[in-house]
Amino acid sequence: MTASILQDEKLMELKNTIDEFKDKEGPLMPIMHKAQELYGYLPVEVQEYIAKALDIPLSDIYGVATFYSQFTLKPQGKNTIGVCMGTACYVKGSQAILDEIVREIDLKPGETSDDFNFTLNATRCLGACGLAPVIMINDDVYGRLVPSDIKGIISKYRTK
């Protein structure tokens, strides 16, 4: 595992980012963003690598990784479904939308399907309040939803 994760071109890219920020003030967050973007999550081997490169304790990296909700320690699914639970969406029925998705793909918020096709998240406000209630699948936004819309939308992302 260690060897396969660390010996590839992703690592080179991460190394470039580390070199870019290493001598700047507050380098950790930009580097971790890059790592999360490259690997889709933060494997412990990557955290160890960053710790060594910046000469800071691994516990610091782990502390930061677990504090922020955008960093994750688990691999994510191919399609990420984010159900907006901001206030505007909530008062317009996002709970019913979430419930419907939970039934449709049989995952709870925060879970990833066994085949790694879906990850379901109940997200913070997506800032598209004018279209409430809103969900986002990868980069696609679906707005003004009612529960009966869900089945059709999800089916577009099922593995064929």
Binding site: M29, Y68, L126, G130
Partner: protein, 598 residues
């Protein structure tokens, strides 16, 4: 410079973008090319127009034709009829943008814009945010020139102080004082920060400013750098805002290239540069000391103040931190003077405030009004009222830190102080309208759920106290409320407000306390009668088919996700309560309104 006979402005704000404005833009491009119009008509992707509810929005000048809900199918008609033949496609125009005789209204005559005053949003929906030339053409960077070439740092601070501008992030601290404290702080190095970690659910004005007018923020931060003696700025922006980040990066590059950021700006010996730092999804990082910790690469935990950031901020150096909307006002104040800004607003709150109007209101979107405008004007005149003839119940301002304002206060002129008096707060400007179908206990529970999740865990009142409050609220909404629960919530709330470390904890009880203050009867109905009057709390209600209204059409059977509905065709159906999950899908589908929650 090229001249065009028409300009087509396409809204590229978040709302319209989500409704498909990028595709509309693409089709415009190909249609213009195939009609050989690309050298006569200019396409401009702008920031937010404000009226997200009817997006994607397209405005064609010089006529000012306001097209709403434009689809890719509509574009060929607009191009061939309007742009080629000069015949406006009236059936695609926004209904309130034309007079009865089909003549086009100017934008200030449209009900949605009539009472608005766009200062912070001045350029949003007007210029192309990815072109520095357009910003400069609208007086951009003039204020910076005036500051650097004609004013001393003290004079700049005095103008900001005299303008009466207060922090738009929510607390309303006088901006000029903050600048003065940072300017007077001792230090070899100082920093300018911009708080663009807009975390309040339901607020997206900072996002719209960054996406629609990024140079205004850069210009303001540079002016601030000159005023307090800093040469480095950071913009801390939510990672959830990719378009804002992209446009900021473009703007920074253009400003550097034009010599408006970097060394010897305007030929003076003043140097200033700006970098972007991304947040990573932590609401508490909107608090200034937590934001500073996050920029330093640490867990975003707040620390006690003093020392204030003005004396000891990022990397231990004196730091000035303002919010995006606050900065967006700065260049115009320098440009037009303190008296000009003073003339708008109320006695203690000057200028305007941008609100993100959402929830149960017709015209959802972004509105900017002078301080002192009433809630009624915003909701009923600008917002167009509540849809489906429902009754207004409350307006929520200030997000998880604010409160719910009932109908009796609809005529309160809104400013920092009046909102605080009625148990809410300005906050960053989310304004969510709720109607009779929203349960106020459930809303209080919703906000507490948010705060508990976002509490950083450093101080016990917030970490443990809000959790206890949430447990009580969960019990109440599940029908397990007990006598004394309301009093317990009030006591806990008061203690948390008094003892929590940072603004997040100190304001977390507000949604609960304000709903108890104005909607105590709803809490009592949940606790004593085990009823949810609004029909929201699922444990307290049943979905029932009224036999006398049911025609047995069977539509509800098809839509029910748990097969809980059964019945013969053309005769009344029934719901099996053991299977029903109360999702309400059947109610939504029933053409005869025969299904009710009770």
């Amino acid at each position: 410079m090229e001249f065009y006979r028409s300009h087509v402005l396409i809204c590229g704000g978040t709302g319209c973008h989500s409704s498909g404005s990028a595709d509309v833009m693409e089709v415009f491009k190909t249609e213009l090319e195939s009609n050989k119009l690309e050298n006569e008509i200019k396409l401009v992707q702008t920031g937010c127009f404000g009226l997200c509810a009817i997006g994607p929005v397209v405005i064609v000048y010089p006529e000012g034709a306001f097209y709403s809900k434009v689809t890719t199918d509509d574009v060929p008609r607009i191009v061939s009829e309007h742009l080629l033949k000069g015949r406006i496609v009236t059936d695609l125009l926004y209904h309130d943008s034309v007079h009865d005789d089909e003549a086009i209204k100017s934008l200030d005559e449209v009900e949605f814009y009539k009472k608005q005053k766009r200062l912070a949003l001045r350029n949003c929906g007007v210029i192309d945010p990815e072109k520095i030339e357009e910003y400069i053409a609208f007086d951009g960077y003039k204020a910076l020139g005036k500051a650097l070439l004609e004013s001393t740092p003290e004079e700049i601070i005095n103008i900001i102080k005299a303008s009466g501008l207060r922090g738009r992030g929510g607390a309303g601290f006088p901006t000029g004082l903050k600048w003065e404290f940072t300017a007077k702080a001792e230090g070899d190095k100082k920093y300018i920060l911009c708080n663009a970690d807009e975390g309040d659910p339901g607020a997206f004005m900072d996002r719209s400013v960054l996406e629609g007018d990024p140079h205004a923020v850069l210009e303001a931060m540079t002016i601030a750098g000159y005023a307090v003696g800093a040469d480095q700025g950071y913009i801390y922006v939510r990672a959830e805002y990719p378009i804002a980040v992209k446009r900021l990066n473009i703007a920074i590059d253009q400003a550097r290239e034009a010599g408006l950021l970097g060394k010897n700006i305007f030929g003076t010996n003043f140097n200033f540069d700006i970098e972007i730092r991304l947040g990573a999804g932590a609401f508490v990082c909107g608090e200034e000391t937590a934001l500073i910790a996050s920029i330093e690469g640490k867990r975003g935990e707040p620390r006690p103040r003093p020392p204030f950031p003005a004396n000891k901020g990022v990397f231990g150096k004196p730091t000035l931190l303002n919010n995006v909307e606050t900065y967006a006002n700065i260049p115009q104040i320098i440009h037009n003077g303190a008296d000009w800004f003073q003339s708008v607003g109320t006695e203690k709150s000057k200028g305007t405030k941008v609100f993100a109007l959402g929830g149960k209101v017709m015209n959802t979107g972004l509105v900017e009004v002078p301080m002192g405008t009433t809630l009624r004007e915003i909701i009923y005149e600008i917002g167009g009222g509540i849809p489906d003839n429902k009754e207004f119940k409350a307006a929520q301002t200030g997000g998880p830190s604010g409160g719910c304002i009932p109908a009796e206060h609809l005529d309160t002129p809104i400013d920092y102080d009046s909102l605080a008096r009625i148990g809410s707060m300005m906050g960053s400007g989310g304004l969510i309208v709720m109607d009779e179908d929203n349960c106020m206990v459930d809303i209080a529970r919703f906000f507490l759920d948010f705060t508990v999740d976002e509490s950083c865990g450093k101080c016990p009142p917030c970490r443990i106290g809000t959790k206890r409050m949430l447990e009580i609220l969960n019990r109440i909404t599940k029908g397990q409320g007990e006598e004394g629960d309301i009093e317990k919530l009030e006591e806990l709330g008061k203690n948390i407000k008094a003892s929590a470390l940072c603004g997040l904890g100190q304001t977390a009880p507000n949604p609960v306390l304000s709903t108890i203050r104005y909607f105590r009867d709803e809490y009592e109905a949940h606790i004593r009668d085990k009823k949810c009057p609004a029909g929201v709390c699922q444990a307290l209600l049943q979905v029932l088919i009224q036999a006398e209204l049911c025609k047995g059409c069977g539509l509800c059977v098809k839509v029910c996700p748990t097969d809980a509905i059964s019945g013969e065709r053309r005769s009344p159906h029934v719901i099996d309560q053991s299977k029903c999950i109360k999702c309400g899908a059947c109610m939504e589908k029933c053409p005869f309104k025969a299904i009710v929650k009770g």
